[in-house]
């Protein structure tokens, strides 16, 4: 089947906040309206709406997509919600892509939203229900456990020192100082991270991204519609590749040292984009930068390896040596990521896709990578350590 060319033509972001006064649908409206205004179109021009939001238990509204429909501009339109946990924020623009690539729609408004402050006593309490209800929850687990267990397995397998992982928190929280939506931009040292409160060894407080409220929207269009609206190619980022993959939920039956599902999702996206050489050197040359999912600092490194951008066990040293700094050889998470901008689950990954768009269109302001960028990747991850979602964008004038 011939796939149509699809571009992102605008993005809209709210601030990311620990506690927002706005309701979830009011946050969705801010993001969606901003994206429409930036694209210079109105809701009347929109053919379909996509809503991305993670568990209903955060906003505390059952069937959240139905609740969010009016704020996401989806009233009386073909509106749908796809949901792959933390992977949702990248999956939503993938849904936008196939709605248009298939020829079904021409203009799609995609909105990712999460309001995590609604749930009490903490988001943690809702997160705990991710554990198996019959043979795990009776043990009294905490979400941090699963990350601690995965992080330990990763560090042990490849002999990774904690300092190298801590460098990711320093980099991302530092980058976030330049992001207007950020809630936790900070100038930190590796020692600060290592000396922060131990929650579940090896996870310390500054290894973790902050719970947040926020929303991010995109306008996506077919090439034909982009021409028809007279949108400048300087404002377009083309979707060149997409991939997604889900592993078994039986996480205690897998080796957590390596995210095989991220590899499979990435290879699907690279192949679709026509990139045949999947070696780290070739991929780092082909891509200008990446925004991998960083709810915890080690996850950024884990994902860079799953994405084939670094050899297994080699991403931590690269981060420590500054290779992945915004002005490094291969910039990673120039936005500031979940660690620095904040982690409103689905909207957090939406923010990463938005960053790729903003970098490729030269609109990243103080965060602009100080070299020519032609192609970028955003990746998200979720569910029970089992989902990988990947999108590759290229600049509007890049062949």
């Amino acid at each position: 089947m011939k796939k149509r060319k699809v571009g992102i033509v605008s993005v809209g972001l709210t601030k990311f906040m620990r506690r927002a006064k706005e309701t979830p649908k009011e946050l969705a409206y801010y993001a969606a309206k901003t994206a429409l205004d930036e694209a210079g179109i109105t809701r009347k021009d929109v053919d379909a709406a996509i809503i991305g939001s993670a568990p209903d238990a955060f906003d505390g509204v059952h069937q959240k997509h139905e609740y969010l429909t009016d704020g996401a501009g989806g009233v009386n339109l073909p509106t749908m919600r796809g949901y792959v946990g933390g992977g949702t924020g990248v999956f939503s623009p993938i849904q936008g892509w196939y709605s248009i690539a298939s020829g079904m729609h021409d203009v799609v408004l995609v909105t990712t939203e999460e309001k995590m402050s609604s749930v009490l006593p903490s988001a943690q309490a809702a997160f705990n229900t991710i554990f198996d209800n019959m043979i795990e929850r009776p043990l009294g687990p905490n979400l941090v456990w699963i990350f601690a267990l995965e992080m330990r397995r990763y560090m042990e397998t490849y002999g990774i020192p904690k300092e190298h992982i801590a460098a990711v928190s320093v980099k991302n929280k530092g980058n976030a100082l330049d992001h207007p939506s950020a809630m936790l931009g900070q100038k930190l040292t590796i020692e600060d991270v290592l000396n922060s409160e131990v929650l579940a060894e090896p996870v310390h407080l500054l290894d973790i991204s902050p719970v947040a409220d926020g929303a991010v929207s995109f306008v996506m269009m077919s090439e034909e519609k982009i021409k028809e609206f007279g949108i400048s190619l300087d404002d377009v980022a083309w979707v060149e590749g997409v991939g997604w993959n889900v592993d078994t939920t039986m996480w205690t039956n897998r080796d957590l040292c390596y995210p095989k599902y991220v590899e499979k999702a990435a290879k699907q996206a690279y192949t679709m984009a026509g990139q045949k050489d999947h070696s780290p050197e070739a991929l780092r040359k082909w891509l200008s930068f990446a925004e991998p999912y960083d709810p915890f600092n080690y996850k950024e490194l884990h994902h860079l390896e799953g994405l084939q951008l670094f050899e297994k066990g080699k991403a931590p040293l690269a981060a420590y040596e500054g290779v992945t700094a915004r002005d490094g050889d291969f910039p990673v998470t120039p936005s500031g990521g979940l660690l620095g901008v904040g982690n409103p689950i689905a909207a957090a990954a939406g923010m990463k896709v938005a960053e790729v768009y903003l970098q490729l269109t030269g609109k990243a302001e103080k965060r602009q990578i100080p070299k020519d960028v032609t192609r970028g990747l955003a990746q998200a991850w979720g569910d029970l350590m089992q989902v990988g979602t990947v999108i590759i964008l290229k600049g509007g004038r890049v062949n």
């Binding site: 006064k21 946050l27 943690q124 941090v144 957590l256």
Partner: protein, 166 residues
């Protein structure tokens, strides 16, 4: 691009802006199905069951009635020893309700001996009295069972796993 949103402090959020509270009153009763019923019944008897796939020859734990790799139905349960190897562990100072502990509990994934192809196992706790510097990935461990009369057919019928002296 304008980035909008109204930040609230904790006090504003809890006490100053208008809000509505909701306390859902729900409880779930999960029937444990085919394979986990067998697993829990086994625990009550002091046994750890896995299941065998006759097509790809994996023996997995916890048991299930289908093989998620080759998608064949599993045809038999296998009684496994109550020993295993620490796949990974954490010293957790944070409880399930996010409150803090002085002395950590030690969640771990235990790969159960006798599982084949790739080792498999389940989440449990390690003996809190093992000196922390002795706990290693790859450490051999053995289940410490609750007295038979106190077992209910629950994952907590195993109290924890303790270090198996070589």
């Amino acid at each position: 691009m304008k980035v909008r949103g109204t930040k609230l402090s904790h006090d504003e959020y809890m006490n100053q802006v208008i809000s509505v509270d909701h306390h859902p009153e729900i409880e779930y009763a999960w029937a444990t199905g085919i394979a986990i019923s067998k697993f829990l019944e086994g625990l009550k008897q002091g046994k750890i069951y896995g299941a065998k796939c006759n097509d790809c020859n994996r023996i997995v734990c916890p048991p299930r009635i289908f093989c998620e790799e080759c998608f064949s139905p599993m045809v038999e349960y296998v009684e496994l020893p109550d020993t295993g190897v620490v796949n990974t562990f954490s010293l957790a100072y944070i409880r399930t309700d996010a409150s803090r502990r002085e002395k950590p509990e030690i969640p771990a994934v235990i790969d159960i001996d006798g599982t084949t192809l790739t080792p498999s196992g389940f989440l449990h706790l390690l003996d809190e009295n093992i000196p922390h510097d002795q706990i290693k990935v790859g450490m051999k461990v053995k289940a410490v069972w609750r007295p038979e009369a106190e077992r209910t057919g629950s994952i907590t019928d195993i109290m924890y796993f303790t270090k198996l002296e070589d």
